[in-house]
């Protein structure tokens, strides 16, 4: 029982990271109708910046994370402007291939700058471990911060998209770009804003991920990126609560699968979920129905 609870806590913690990454996938998909497969690699860049900031530049943890968010925000906007914007009218396959190319570009650029050897990522979280049930169930500071960060991000984003002018503009653009333009919304600026938010969140996810799993290398973001994409599809791509639900469920499925069925097949469970969702409910758990115009 105790071990189940502790696996569950680990699952929720990992799932929270997936949820934060999945948000980036989902928001960008909702607005730009494209899968930004370079998103996972922005996570890696965020983690490297945090690593450099704490280890080489001697910045305090909070400032380091903010610096990583700033760099990733700029990186996300630049990627969109240079690689995706010129393809706004192109086929979705061309955009997809470009995104995969951008992913490899970032990985190789990171390898050039920081080398291929894994770096040991120092946790930026200094919270003490919480001990429950007489010391049998331990919840690490990293886990608490990760879950809390996830909750805060979800609440803030939900309020942002429903109450603020820019947030509503994002929803309008995701529904109908042309109609949004007729309202006076600058569609390009809205798309840039979405990439900026998604990439800033990727930096946060990178820090949280590497605090829990401290080996940092150029391919660090790749697998979590793909899994978070699976989570986004699982929950319903384009939906903020979908990213939350999909991320959490996927994290729990992965950890429980690894703990009780097979350590080696952990990743296979995750992708089995993707296949099942695509077969049974392609719009995902909370996915929106696609409106057919009559």
């Amino acid at each position: 029982m105790i071990s189940f609870l502790s696996h569950l806590v680990n699952g929720i913690s990992l799932g929270s990271v997936y949820a934060i990454i999945a948000l980036g996938y989902s928001m960008v998909y909702g607005i730009a109708k494209m899968l930004n497969f370079a998103h996972g690699d922005v996570i890696m860049v965020g983690a490297y910046i945090t690593f450099c900031a704490t280890q080489y530049w001697g910045l305090p943890p909070v400032v380091s994370v903010l610096a990583a968010m700033l760099v990733c925000t700029v990186l996300g906007v630049v990627i969109e402007r240079l690689a995706y914007k010129p393809l706004r009218a192109a086929t979705s396959l061309a955009v997809l291939i470009t995104a995969i190319g951008m992913s490899y570009f970032l990985q190789n650029a990171a390898q050039l700058i920081w080398g291929a050897n894994p770096k040991s990522f120092p946790s930026v979280i200094t919270l003490p471990t919480l001990s429950l049930m007489g010391g049998q169930l331990l919840i690490s500071g990293e886990t608490m911060v990760t879950v809390l960060a996830n909750v805060i991000i979800m609440i803030v984003l939900t309020i942002f998209t429903s109450k603020t002018k820019m947030g509503r503009a994002m929803r309008a653009v995701s529904e109908d770009k042309g109609a949004a333009e007729l309202m006076g919304i600058n569609v390009n600026a809205t798309i840039s804003l979405t990439f900026a938010i998604g990439s800033a969140l990727a930096a946060v996810a990178g820090v949280l991920l590497c605090s829990a799993y401290p080996a940092l290398m150029p391919t660090t973001g790749s697998m979590p990126g793909i899994k978070a994409f699976t989570a986004a599809v699982f929950g319903g791509i384009g939906s903020i609560p979908g990213a939350l639900v999909g991320g959490l469920l996927l994290g729990v499925i992965e950890i429980l699968g690894k703990a009780y069925i097979s350590m080696e097949l952990g990743d296979a469970f995750v992708f089995a979920v993707l296949i099942i969702v695509l077969l049974v409910k392609p719009t995902g758990l909370l996915g929106k129905k696609v409106h057919e115009k009559v």
Binding site: K165, R168, A169, R171, A172, E175, D176, G178, A179, A180, E181, L182, M183, G184, I185, N186, V187, K288, H291, K293, V294
Partner: protein, 235 residues
């Protein structure tokens, strides 16, 4: 005085030459209608004026401003609103949110008064204020689309096929609203396949045929013109 002036515009979709040099104008306080068959280029013309499409050549002047270099998102703040074909309301937003999007470029403080005004003009929308727009009936959606366009307080309202897909009684209602709007000082450019209705409310009309203007004149004259009756009024 001419509010909108179109001079020899050419519009292409890729290699397809959709608008082949048309010129027309809309004067202040007029209702002008563009009629024509499916594919004649009516919607293309409106979308070009609104800035969603860019003409390859020609000039569009609105209220003394050359719209040539103005992006679509800046056109609405110049005083022109397009209520697009197929309504294109934001299906997943509430009625109220849709209206607020219509006032996107305006000062936040002015929005409540305009909302009240719309709810007075369209009482059905008041009843449905909190409802998700996608659940409205076709007629209600059309009213919402018109109200959304009016939220920007346009000098010129362009309506693209407002009667499309509506039952005859609703078509009457929509045209009554068009007359009311005109009565309260809004200049209207109306595109319609329902030529009978369009010509009966309009002051002047242009007939579009495969990207060119084939006829123009006072609306009641065209309404009784044999060629127009034969081609567009089915008699």
């Amino acid at each position: 005085m001419s509010l909108l002036k179109i001079e020899d515009i050419h519009v292409f979709y890729g290699a397809i030459h959709a608008i082949k040099g048309i010129s027309f104008e809309v004067n202040e306080d007029e209702i002008v209608t563009l009629i024509g068959a499916n594919g004649a280029g009516k919607s293309t013309t409106l979308n070009t004026i609104a800035g969603l499409l860019k003409p390859r050549s020609g000039k569009i002047t609105f209220d003394g401003i050359d719209l040539g270099s103005v992006p679509a998102s800046k056109v609405v703040s110049k005083g022109m609103a397009l209520c697009p074909e197929g309504r294109r309301i934001f299906q997943q937003m509430t009625v109220r949110e849709n209206l607020e999007m219509g006032g996107f470029t305006r000062d936040k403080a002015e929005i409540p008064a305009s909302l009240d005004e719309m709810f007075q003009r369209f009482p059905r929308l008041k009843e449905r204020e909190k409802q998700i727009a996608g659940t409205l009936s076709g007629g209600e959606q059309q009213m919402l689309a018109m109200a959304r366009a009016l939220m920007s307080r346009p000098k010129l309202l362009m309506l693209d096929e407002p009667s499309m897909g509506l039952a005859p009684i609703l078509v009457e209602q929509i045209f009554d609203i068009i007359k009311e709007l005109h009565g309260s000082g809004t200049t209207i450019l109306l595109v319609e396949q329902n030529a009978q209705m369009a010509l009966s409310v309009a002051d002047r009309a242009y007939v579009l045929e495969t990207g060119k203007i084939s006829m123009e004149g006072p609306a009641d004259e065209l309404l009784h013109n044999d060629a127009v009756r034969k081609a567009y009024l089915g008699s």
